[in-house]
């Protein structure tokens, strides 16, 4: 393969890094406001962990919109389904989960997560075929159909699992915190950060280093041309939709463990959060989604600490101020 040195290139477009600096600046500004470094560190870690979980849930939604211009208002259903499915494994095998060995814990945790992802991916397949396929290109009907899907999914969960809150205790080895100096970092938050980061890096690698990723990026820009080059974009899209659903399911499992309980309405709650994140990030942008998730989590955590009253509307304020700055979100996808 001949590699040609890119010395003689056209002026490269400047990388737009202002949005990346935003959460960093926000974190730094908070140090004096919060006063105590240890509280600040705990809050920052909590923000990052929460942000990663939200990112995992939101990434699929934003990709699906970017690639196929489909607004999925039922995305929250995958989150709830994922969490419930995990309890099917975690609760019967509670003795494994509560054993004091990390290995034994993982023996139940990993299959639980994998099962949740498999089920939500399969559900994604059905949703795409039944609800989304007939209404391509019609935003209004997409919103209505997928909202209907959300109701049905939520109600089915009630019917199958009952309306009560199901406890979802953290495995024993993930409880507690690491203490560094006077800073306590919860183990589970570290895990959440790690998983989120791995997924972010994985998505970025797939998008930027593989042919599938190349196809997705090209498809976001011009679907017809991708087809004209001989690629079946419908299949690619179905793949992305299922992956997005599976990630939402994984996010649901992680959120359930984070809250240590599951309820069918977590779909509703998180739908709103996820929407705010993808709007802030710019519909269709993974990087924007990542930053948006961290910002939302930071505002929730710092805001909840500093002015608990304001925490109620903090997400709205965040969304409004970001959109006032950039009406199409942090990283607007240019083709639409």
């Amino acid at each position: 393969m001949t590699e040609i040195a890119a010395t003689d290139t056209l002026p490269k477009p400047k990388r737009d890094i202002a949005p990346v600096l935003l959460p960093i600046a926000l974190a730094l500004v908070m140090i004096p406001l919060i006063g105590s470094v240890s509280s600040w560190a705990t809050l920052t870690v909590a923000s990052l962990a929460m942000g990663m979980m939200i990112f995992i849930m939101a990434s699929g939604l934003t990709l699906v919109f970017g690639l196929m211009d489909v607004l999925n208002f039922g995305h929250g259903a995958f989150i709830a389904v994922g969490a419930y499915i995990a309890t099917l494994v975690l609760l019967p095998l509670a003795s494994f989960a509560q054993a004091d060995s990390l290995l034994t814990n993982l023996v139940v945790l990993v299959p639980a997560a994998l099962l949740a992802m498999a089920v939500t991916a399969a559900l994604g397949l059905v949703v795409e075929r039944v609800l989304v396929l007939p209404v391509y290109g019609q935003h209004l009907k997409q919103i209505l159909m997928t909202t209907g899907g959300l109701i049905v999914a939520e109600q089915t969960l009630y019917a199958l699992f009952g309306p009560q809150i199901i406890p979802m205790p953290l495995p024993a080895s993930l409880r507690g915190s690491f203490i560094i100096g006077d800073i306590a970092i919860a183990k589970y938050r570290l895990l959440a950060m790690l998983v989120g980061l791995v997924i972010f890096v994985a998505i970025e690698l797939v998008l930027n280093r593989t042919k599938i990723g190349l196809l997705i990026r090209a498809g976001v820009e011009n679907r017809e041309m991708v087809e004209s080059l001989g690629y079946r974009i419908r299949r690619l899209f179905l793949g992305v939709f299922m992956t997005g659903s599976a990630l939402a399911g994984l996010g649901g499992v992680m959120w359930g463990l984070y809250r240590e309980q599951v309820h069918a309405s977590i779909g509703d709650e998180l739908t709103v959060l996820v929407f705010i994140v993808v709007i802030i990030g710019g519909l269709g942008s993974i990087t924007g989604c990542f930053i948006g998730a961290i910002l939302v989590a930071m505002v929730a955590n710092y805001g909840g600490f500093l002015v608990p009253k304001l925490a109620l509307v903090s997400n709205i304020l965040l969304m409004v101020s970001v959109l006032m700055w950039r009406p199409r979100g942090l990283y607007a996808v240019t083709s639409r």
């Binding site: 209505l144 209907g148 509703d268």
Partner: protein, 358 residues
């Protein structure tokens, strides 16, 4: 014709249905005595108006808003809080109206103007986010709103059941404050629906349809569409708030579950889609079908569920349980968006005119 603003039902079956519903609602206190029937009838009136105001947005401008219950809730809470705080008198009612309507108007204006700055496709998501924040706010500010418990209050003397105008022995039914309240609800709802019918059939309403059909061209004709859309948003919000006020007066209570919750938003969506988007009449049909079904079919579901449980059929009892009512509605909703996007009214109107009508 003038009262219907030149937009008659245009279908014999539809006209008949509407007349039947109107007459039934008008006569409910006399022909279906009992608190339950009156409650259902009052709710149909209120929701018909509420859904019609939502139709102004969804059907006539083509924008999906999830914040409609927020305005409904503002109306409900304004009345409830005012009567709770100022006591059961007409001044309190007036105060509630004077506080609630401007608040709804301002919020609608703010949302409208803000969403103009951003991408049109964000509108549905932004309204969802704002509405959910408002819901949280309402349940958290419990010193004002009573939190999850909501606010119960006393009605002014005139509207109380104890106030009897015509004693029982005249018609067999006592004409009391409760019945007066019912007719206030009925008349106010009818007025609101007629007003909305006027709005959508006015020159302004035509512009809204034009924007829905082809926004670019509407602007090329010289319409500043952003103002029209914001205006429509404000009208819908004010009507929704008024419907909320009626709701509070009827229930003597305002709380998150009766006026703000997301499930009411879903009910509104279902009613407007089932009835028929972009018709206003669809709101009446949708509200009547939905609420009758909700109140009377649920009992049927309960019986079926019990029977299935007795027969030992697995899963079915859970699925047929009255609490799973929304599950079936959700399925119905998907099916109607897919198969009957024009709803009942659209279907009836599209049908060839009956032979006798030619």
């Amino acid at each position: 014709m003038m009262i219907l603003s030149g937009d008659p039902p245009r279908s014999r079956v539809l006209s008949a249905l509407l007349v039947i519903i109107m007459l039934a609602l008008l006569a409910t206190p006399f022909i279906f005595p009992g608190a339950k029937a009156m409650n259902v009838a009052a709710k149909i009136c209120i929701f018909a108006a509420l859904v019609a105001s939502y139709d102004l947005l969804l059907g006539y401008t083509g924008s999906v808003s999830f914040a409609h219950t927020m305005f409904y809730g503002i109306g409900s809470y304004a009345i409830a809080i005012a009567l709770y705080a100022l006591g059961p008198n007409w001044a309190a009612v007036a105060a509630g109206v004077a506080a609630g309507l401007p608040l709804a108007l301002l919020l609608a204006l703010a949302i409208g103007l803000f969403s103009l700055r951003v991408e049109a496709i964000f509108f549905a998501m932004i309204t969802l986010a704002v509405a959910s924040a408002f819901l949280v706010l309402a349940s958290q500010l419990s010193w004002l709103t009573g939190g999850e418990d909501g606010r119960s209050f006393q009605l002014p003397e005139l509207l109380r059941p104890g106030t009897v105008f015509v004693p029982k022995d005249w018609f067999g039914i006592a004409i009391n404050g409760r019945i007066l309240t019912y007719y206030i609800v009925f008349a106010a709802s009818a007025l609101m629906i007629l007003a909305l019918l006027r709005v959508v059939n006015s020159p302004f309403g035509r512009v809204l349809q034009a924007i829905r059909e082809n926004r670019f061209r509407a602007e090329a004709l010289g319409y500043r569409t952003v103002f029209h859309l914001t205006y429509a948003n404000c009208i819908a919000a004010v009507i929704a708030a008024l419907a909320g006020m009626l709701n509070a007066l009827w229930l003597r209570y305002a709380g998150p579950d009766t006026s703000l919750s997301f499930s009411i938003m879903l009910d509104i969506l279902l009613m407007v889609v089932i009835g028929g988007m972009g018709t206003i009449y669809g709101a009446i049909i949708g509200a009547a079908i939905f609420l009758l079904a909700e109140n009377y079919l649920q009992a049927l579901m309960g019986a079926a569920s019990a029977a299935a449980a007795e027969a030992g059929v697995p899963l079915l009892p859970g699925l047929l349980h009255p609490d799973r009512w929304l599950l079936w509605l959700g399925l119905l909703f998907i099916a109607s968006v897919y198969f009957f996007p024009t709803g009942v009214v659209g279907r009836l109107r599209n049908k060839p005119r009956p032979a006798s009508g030619r």
